[in-house]
Amino acid sequence: MNLYQAVRDAMSIALLKDENAVVFGEDVAFGGVFRCTMGLAEEFGRERVFNTPLSEQGIAGFGIGLAAMGHTAIAEIQFADYIYPAFDQLVNEAAKIRYRSGGQFNVGGLTIRTPTMSVGHGGLYHSQSPEGFFMGAAGLKIVIPRSPIQAKGLLLASIRDPNPVIFMEPKILYRSAVEHVPVDDFTLPLSRAEILTPGTDLTLLTWGTPVYHCETALRILSNPPPSLAPHIPQSLRSAKIELIDLRTILPWDAETVIESVKKTGRLVVVHEAGKTGGVGGEIAAEVQKKAFLRMQAPVRRVAGWDTPVGLQYEKFIIPDAVRILDAILETLTY
């Protein structure tokens, strides 16, 4: 399965096992602009899988109402870039309903799926990574998978989690990431980071699409092509880098990250969103507080520049393997 098929598979299971589950959003009935809801309307009927008018605040508000009645609302925002009209509903309403009602009402059944991150030619409004904007919205969970297996397990967990979840799907992976995904019903835990490759010299932390740029950077580091070899000292090529996929942005798995940094003494955080106000800043602050005496180099952030994503400039804006590689080298030699 590729990632969009895995997402579809998760929703199909959710609809099959939970009579109260519905899927809705703009253009989801014919299968969705990224094919994530292919055939669901035919399989489960238009009462359970349906189009909404083109209004993001309406989609979020409608989903909150459904979830407040104990139903399972799986809503889609067509691109994460267009989630801002729903920001009020998500931050002021969804995130706060349990708290403000003294626990009497909740919208735990709400999951908002939305495609995120760069696609190579998305320009300003088809490339954004808005996870950082939601980081201060206590009450929400934010989840970003890196692969089809992850997408299915984390989406099913998000749908069943007793809290409203924003589930951001890296859109460039919809077709490009392919792996064998178990067809049965399974979940992966939220708020749990995953160590992809263990290491002792540096912690490399990321989520979503940049996981692959990080892997590329690590391959180049250990086995550089001739063109890059002069920049990579022999002594660093055998460095053991611990690569971590954060998976849940809020509430994030500080324990795994801090443990790793205490061991390695060095941290590079990679994300596509702009650096200022990005999630990397929050992580860096917590790490310097809890691993201060173990740090051997400053926390390094490799992020988008603090600019919008200009269309023709994208290759120089989005952090790619060479920028990650450079940050690793500088941090290792600090």
């Binding site: 409608f62 109402g65 009020d88 002021n92 626990g103 009450g139």
Partner: protein, 441 residues
Amino acid sequence: MLRSISTRILSRRSLTTARRYSTPNASSAYSEARGHLPHSQSPITSKLHFFNSVTEEGKQIPTYRVLDGVGQVLEGAEVPEIDRDTARKIYENMVLLPIMDNLLYNIQRQGKISFYITAYGEEATIIGSAAALAPDDEVLGQYRELGVLLWRGYGIDAAMAQCFGNQDDTSSKGRQMPVHWGSPSLHFHTISSPLATQIPQATGVAYALKRDPLRRGKNCSAVYFGEGAASEGDFHAGMLFASTIPAPTLFIARNNGFAISTPSTEQYYGDGIAARGPGYGIDTIRVDGNDVLAVLSATKEARRKCVEGGRGVLLEAMTYRVGHHSTSDDSFAYRPRQEVEDRKRSDNPIARFRLFLHSQGWWSDAEEEELKERLKQDVMKAFKKAEATKRWPLSELFEDVYGGEQPWNLKEQKKELDGLLKKYGGIWEPWKNELKKFKDN
């Protein structure tokens, strides 16, 4: 998929037929022979004609009324079926509202509670509509709808506890400002301050009702909002979703003429809120919000249409905000005191209904006196009790942020506050005094 498309075209056609009455005079210029555009049932015309049906003089949407200003039934008006007991219950709730408002307004002035919002002048709109709903219709309010809760038996004690945010406040455990009530057992969703957010939520609630085999065709969601809130994008979204998806949502607009200081003339240029309903394909009525029988009648019928049709219905109640916007507002800064006094005297919803009750022989002056005295005592008793009750334990400040396990950051922060309290709780005056108000401290 094909089938659903053809159904939609059919239903659009029948709607068009039903709406023929609104075709402008230029209809002779329309020719069936010219047909219509694909994706539209609009007939082609050769006449260049703009229309604006809602601002032309004399074309405004009429206001439905049953009782005149002195409680007499209008000629031709049909009095809704109402028995003596229901009528008296409605009246008693209408009388209770300003008594609650008076006390709570005054104790806010004395600094005993932090904030309050009265409903002066809107008693008929709120109680009349509440009485027309089924007790288990889901209500989503704005903040001026305490009367709905009281009608459903919330009780004076619970209302008072919420305003004090003490440990009897189940609405929000003292977390929200006064007047932000809520009760799942009374099907009243907890109020929040952001305006109009409840409107598209009400549509989602209605869709859930429609999907529930036990409540389908039996219940609707009823959403209240002011004419100011109707300017928010969420009003547009809610109306649109309720008509398009569709879902049995009863929209109740309280048009009281003011959004804080902004008069409705600066809020919109069209014919109020009601004029917007037909644009969304939503059945709409405007009603005299100071005439409780008109509100009752119109809401009953609106609710019936809503539940049976499974689609949104809009009711605009025309009223007048007699009180200040809130305790943080002095409305005489933007409207003449005389105007308010005139409205209070000339068009008082409670007095109007009392005159009607008298005319039916259902009420007497002695009963009036007894009721007011009794309610004042009840309210005073509840106030004393609420004032003397401690708050929830301080630790509740970290609870209910998430369902399930509390995340590490909240656990850490709770520990941090505990440490600070141990260190400074007994010596730092602002905390020391405050801590005494909490339970278990």
